[in-house]
């Protein structure tokens, strides 16, 4: 639980930073202090685990997540994770503090800190996670947060976007390999640990570390290569190193934190983590050693070529990462001690140097080494920090970097292989170049005379605190070996070892001095040397070529895209039909089934049904062949009615009622909507379609073919389903038998309002959402304060040019005769009566909340059609559909939640009349006041309101923005003219 909390703290911090009132309450420096204190507190908390880990080898805390797949939310803390998490929180605290003074703009700072704390949490999750699959999730989170941080200035700076994309491209490509490797590893571990196959996938690190035989597993080669790829890309190893210099577009605090101290060490963490079970195999060790050494050399040589201060630091980071990877690759885990000392030393001196670079950039506005110089007097604190840190990087006795180099050389001297001389040479050359880079940092930036006058804008004084503290650590930790570093290292390194800052005048010390001198000679002779450093292939170039190829492929594929959705639909459906037929699915399914009817007798009801079915088909064909839209809409209405009659014949009176009402509503809606679409548009469509275009005949054949195929397939499946449906064990019987328990006679009503009430609750919510969708589409920009503003039409002040008004009057008058007005006025109260009776007595016969809602909705629609929008609004001031809908939903939800209070569970059945003692009174009217009844009322109100929203939105008068309406269009329906 504590480990979960530790991981969660940075995320909580990030959430806290997003809250507006926090930003209003605390200013930038307070937030800075708060966030860095939070990280420092985590650091101290983690320190308290040291005594505990000296007793136990590891602490594990686990929460079940997907137990069936071996995935758990588990946390695992041993010496290795402790080392990394201390670096993350410790360096994090200093960098969080630094960032508060690096950014001048507080909103920019806030945005940055949200990402940076999210990153810190993700990184902690990587090193603390006790499950490889969870580790992977955290791993990807670090990639995503890193992307955001590298591209932080992306809105203005294309290079920043480019760098962010490059980093994401490389690391997530590696992560793809990694996840496959991890899953294979977990399966392999499962096979080893559970030979009886009781558990197939083992993700927990503590379990995997027990699977000693991994190196003998059949898949070893495959998952090793995949995991190595994942780690190499993340830790910027050659040939994937090029993303790291590109990532220098990140704000400097992020570079210091992510791209030198923490994230790039995630791959190293993974290698060290798996090393106990993987290192027995040659492939693992030699790959790590070879790639690590190559990276070390390439990084060191290119570092001195850089003219950008951060570029230099980035390449030297690459070099150091390579050295650490190579150390992990030494046989028998002999290099782990050197690797860990290297990690600590590097985290301290490199983040200090990055922070110096950031401060210089902030002060002078440039990071170009060629333009810098002579900063010693102007920035004395930064000069001292650089001297300590750069010399630590070079390995001057007795700084922490010196210790790191000593143990590295010592480990290498104990490595015996045929190629040892070559390895030794690589290391000597690389470390000499690294020393040279260190000297260059000190001399070029601070000591030599500047090429031009630099204008110094002094940053806040507190910006110096973090780099100074970091360099003090580089300076002192070597001497504090015994009390500080050793306990930590003993926990992290599996073998017993001894470590001295100064082991005497031995060969290692001599080599160390030699390197320093060689580096100095290189520094003196740097001009010709730097000019000669070239590399035949640029990895960055390969990446660019690859990217260009991908873009080309994308562009090529785009040529096949017409952009017309209906063509896509045709292709999808046509392909679906073709697959069904060609694959033989259809024919095999048919072959097994008895499709032909056995009973050919026809009752009179069957004949009635068949005539209705025939009617639907005829009307369906009519919707296709008639030209005019109004006729098609009416034909569609016929389909709906015929289906309603079929429902009635099929003994489904409730459904039939809803169907008839809703189809009426739908048909009305189409016709109202047709009135809102300019007649000329429709006319053009009709004439255009039927007079024919050049692609017309071909297109109609294609569409016809697809429709016939799809319809045929549906026919076959429907036939199979219908012919084989006689299953007497349906749960429908349960509903038939238990409906009495909810005090109603209507089984369908009971299912809707009670047994499956949650479904219905969601469905009225969906309906409301659809209604709101219509409102948003059609009423954009016409609302004020959430409520429609009724326009009172006063014909005397009409402007004849105000087209919206003109049209509205036509709408109002087209059907507004005294007769229709009287009918509308009469219908509304009747509709209400019908609705109320349907709700109250829904349990006894057809009709329920849905039908009640639609009935009233229909009556209201009639008003809108007859009176027009404004007058209807004026005459029915109480009809405010949005308020009504809201009310209905609230009633439904309260009614659903209330039973929880009295212990009946969500949507439980409550008999209010029994509880209130009025059962007999209401019962004499044939009523039962239950929660179902209240739900039915809520459904009715919601549906009524939803329909009101839709009809209001569609009936709202449109003011045309473009287009003068021709006389013909305004006066005559095109459908009538044809």
């Amino acid at each position: 639980m504590e480990l979960l909390f530790i991981t969660a703290v940075p995320f909580l911090l990030a959430i806290l930073l997003t809250l507006p009132f926090i930003r209003a309450l605390l200013d930038k420096s307070a937030l800075t202090l708060l966030s860095s204190l939070a990280m420092a507190a985590l650091f101290c908390w983690l320190l308290t685990y040291i005594p505990l880990l000296q007793v136990e080898s590891a602490i594990e805390q686990s929460f079940a997540w997907v137990p069936s797949l071996g995935i758990s939310l588990s946390f695992y803390l041993d010496g290795l994770s402790l080392l990394f998490s201390l670096i993350i929180t410790g360096v994090g605290a200093l960098i969080f503090f630094y960032a508060g003074y690096y950014f001048d703009d507080s909103s920019e700072h806030n945005r940055f800190m949200i990402w940076l704390s999210s990153f810190a949490g993700s990184m902690l999750a990587v090193v603390l996670s006790g499950n490889l699959l969870m580790l992977f999730v955290a791993w990807e989170l670090t990639s995503i947060t890193s992307f955001a941080l590298i591209g932080f200035k992306g809105a203005k700076d294309p290079a920043s976007r480019d760098g962010a994309f490059k980093a994401l491209f490389v690391t997530s490509a590696g992560a793809l390999a990694l996840i496959i490797g991890i899953v294979m590893l977990c399966v392999a571990a499962g096979q080893i640990l559970y030979p009886d196959a009781s558990i197939t996938l083992v993700g927990d690190i503590s379990m995997i570390l027990q699977a000693d035989a991994l190196a003998q597993h059949d898949w070893y080669l495959l998952f090793t290569v995949l995991i190595l790829l994942g780690g190499f890309t993340k830790s910027a190893q050659f040939p994937f190193h090029f993303w790291l210099p590109g990532a220098m577009t990140a704000p400097t605090p992020a570079s210091a934190y992510l791209h030198s101290a923490t994230m790039v060490k995630a791959g190293i963490y993974l290698f060290a983590r798996l090393s106990p079970v993987m290192h027995q195999n040659e492939l693992w060790t030699s790959a790590l050693l070879a790639v690590g050494l190559a990276t070390m050399l390439v990084g060191a040589c290119f570092a001195v070529k850089q003219t950008d201060l951060k570029g230099l630091l980035a390449y030297s980071t690459v070099s150091k990462l390579g050295a650490i990877v190579a150390m992990i690759g030494l046989p028998d885990q002999n290099g782990l001690k050197a690797a860990f000392v290297g990690i600590i030393a590097h985290a301290l001196y490199k983040s200090a140097l990055f922070l110096v670079a950031g401060t210089i950039d902030h002060a002078t506005g440039t990071r170009e080494i060629n333009q810098l110089g002579g900063l010693r007097e102007k920035m004395p604190a930064m000069f001292l920090v650089t001297v300590v840190s750069a010399l630590s990087m070079a390995g001057l006795p007795f700084l922490l970097g010196f210790l790191a180099k000593e143990v590295l050389l010592d480990a290498m001297l104990h490595y015996t292989a045929p190629w040892t001389p070559l390895v030794m040479l690589v290391i000597l050359v690389s470390t000499a170049f690294t020393a040279m880079a260190g000297y260059m940092l000190i001399y070029d930036v601070f000591l030599r005379r500047p090429r031009k006058r630099l204008h110094i804008h002094h940053p806040p004084a507190l910006i110096r605190l973090s780099p100074v503290l970091l360099s003090l650590l580089s300076l002192s930790l070597g001497f504090l070996l015994e009390p500080v570093l050793l306990p930590l290292l003993h926990l992290a390194v599996p073998k017993a070892f001894k470590l001295y800052l100064f082991a005497g005048f031995n060969e290692v010390f001599a080599l160390s001095l030699m390197i320093l001198v060689a580096g100095f000679i290189l520094f003196l002779a740097r001009k010709p040397i730097i000019a000669r450093i070239t590399f035949p292939i640029s990895c960055d170039q390969i990446y660019r070529e690859l990217l260009a190829y991908i873009r080309w492929a994308g562009a090529t594929v785009l040529h096949t895209q017409s952009g017309f959705v209906r063509y896509y639909l045709a292709i999808i459906l046509g392909a679906a039909a073709a697959v069904l037929i060609l694959s033989g699915t259809l024919s095999t399914v048919i072959a097994d089934q008895n499709l032909l009817p056995t009973d050919l007798s026809l009752t009179i009801t069957d004949l009635a049904k068949m005539s209705m079915l025939f009617l639907t088909v005829a009307a369906g064909i009519l919707t296709v062949v008639v030209r005019e839209h109004v006729k098609a809409a009416i034909a569609y209405g016929v389909i709906g009615y015929a289906i309603g009659v079929i429902f009635l014949i099929d003994h489904a009176p409730d459904v039939a009622l809803v169907q008839l009402l809703v189809e009426t509503m739908a048909t009305v809606l189409i016709i109202v909507m047709l009135g809102r679409i300019r007649a000329g548009i429709r006319l053009k469509m009709i004439t255009g379609l039927w007079t024919g275009r050049h692609d017309y005949n071909l297109g109609i054949l294609r569409d016809l073919g697809i429709s016939v195929l799809i319809g045929g397939a549906v026919f076959v499946f429907a036939l199979i389903a219908l012919q084989n449906r006689h299953d007497r064990d349906s749960i429908a019987h349960w509903h038939l038998e238990n409906t009495r328990s909810v005090n109603t006679d209507d089984v369908v009503g009971a299912i809707v309002a009670d047994f499956r009430g949650t479904d219905t609750l969601l469905e009225i919510a969906v309906f409301t959402t659809a209604a709101l969708g219509v409102l948003t589409l059609l009423a954009r920009g016409r609302r004020s304060g959430g409520v429609f503003v009724p326009q009172t039409v006063q014909p005397t002040v009409l402007h004849e040019f105000d087209e919206g008004v003109v049209e509205e009057i036509q709408d109002a008058t087209s059907l507004s005769t005294p007769f229709t007005r009287t009918i509308s006025r009469l219908v509304l109260p009747i509709a209400f009566l019908i609705g109320i009776s349907q709700i109250l007595y829904g349990g006894l016969g057809p009709g329920d909340g849905f039908t009640a809602g639609v009935t009233i909705g229909l009556a209201v629609s009639l008003w809108y059609i007859v009176f027009g929008y404004s007058e209807a609004k004026r005459l029915l001031p109480w009809f405010r559909p949005e308020v009504i809908t809201r009310m209905g939903l609230v009633i439904a939800i309260v009614n659903a939640l209330f039973p929880i209070l009295i212990g009946r569970g969500f949507m439980g059945h409550v008999e209010f009349d029994m509880a209130l003692g009025i059962y007999d009174i209401v019962g004499s009217f044939g009523l039962h006041i239950t929660s179902s009844l209240i739900f039915e009322i809520a459904i009715a109100i919601t549906v009524m309101g939803g329909l009101g929203i839709i009809i209001e939105a569609i009936a709202y008068p449109t003011a045309r923005a473009n287009g003068l309406r021709g006389e013909t269009e305004a006066t005559a329906e095109p459908d009538k003219r044809e």
Partner: protein, 114 residues
Amino acid sequence: MTEIMFALTIGILFGIGVFQLLRRDLIKAAIGFAILFSAINLFFVAAGAFEGNYAPYVSNVEADRQTSDPLVQALILTAIVVSFGSFSLVLGFVNIISRRYDTIDSNEITKLKH
């Protein structure tokens, strides 16, 4: 015998719906969309687990009469209302398209923004 008729009707209605969706006329496409809904509802009511000669009421069950399947009916009941909701959304789209693009020919709508 009625099964095959039902299946045939469902198949034809489905085919008509698909055909309408594939055509250029957006209003007819909207109607085709609604026809697809109808076909599916029809299928559901026909696919009940059992048939009966009486409506599904408890009084019918207690009188030992064979009722129709209430479950599919309850399913369609709400489906009808929800499909009406989505149909009105489609109509809203057609309406707004006709206003913005001044056409209801899907071939003439070539840009996302107009």
